[in-house]
Symmetry: C2
Subunit: 139 residues, 2 copies
């Protein structure tokens, strides 16, 4: 079982590796806003459990299993962000997403994803909701 | 600023006080599944910052400010639970609610509350979503 912090590492590593195939330890530490020493420790742990390949020159890559998980964590993040935007949340979306993403079951993430898709397929219903919301806030 | 644990205390104290006007320390510790000593510490802190009245015989009551907050935390809890039920989440609703309730802004809680009300006022739209969801899961 991965800790929230390990999930954040895999999500961030996946984000960058998707674009450039690898990420450097120094760059990872910067992006996660942690000390290089603590990034090194976590990367070593994730390597031990078979999710990362990390050997020489500070270059980190994902194993197939790591890719699967990283891809899921990034998707989960986007699903929550999209939901908050859909229902008209204005502030602090990134921070709230970071705080709650680790605590939702797959069932919940999938249900929210389907709600996002429902609103995308029926934009008139999302509009109806946003008008309803605007009306309620005016009372 | 209250910690998640303090928020849980106020929510639980409010739940019980709403019904019987007060709660005993032993009963509170039981309900929160914590040691009496740690319950006592937190109750003392909440008393110091003016949210609880706790003096004799182990009897705890809420101040007006404590009532306001406790009522909000209980409402917030119910809003998240209702949302998860609405979108068809089956398992682990209580635990997920406990994990995320402390990390949502007032704006987000209100937006989710309005979504719940929207589904209550337009039950045919909630039905349409649940059918859409059922259909998607069958593919
Ligand atoms: Mn994230
Ligand atoms: Mn709660």
């Amino acid at each position: 079982p991965l800790t929230p912090s390990m999930e954040d590492y895999l999500e961030m590593i996946y984000r960058t590796c998707k674009a450039q195939g690898y990420i450097r330890m120094t760059n990872l530490a910067e992006q996660l806003n942690v000390q290089a020493s603590s990034a090194t420790k976590t990367v070593q742990k994730l390597t031990e459990i078979g999710l990362l390949a990390y050997e020489k020159y500070g270059i980190i890559q994902l194993t197939d299993k790591g890719k699967q998980l990283g891809s899921f964590f990034l998707k989960r993040h986007k699903i929550i962000e999209t939901f908050l935007k859909n229902i008209g949340v204005k502030d602090d979306i990134l921070h709230q997403t970071e705080m709650i993403e680790h605590h939702l079951t797959l069932d919940t993430v999938e249900s929210i994803d389907i709600l996002n898709k429902f609103f995308k397929d029926y934009p008139e219903i999302l509009q109806q909701f946003l008008k309803y919301k605007e009306h309620l806030s005016k009372i």
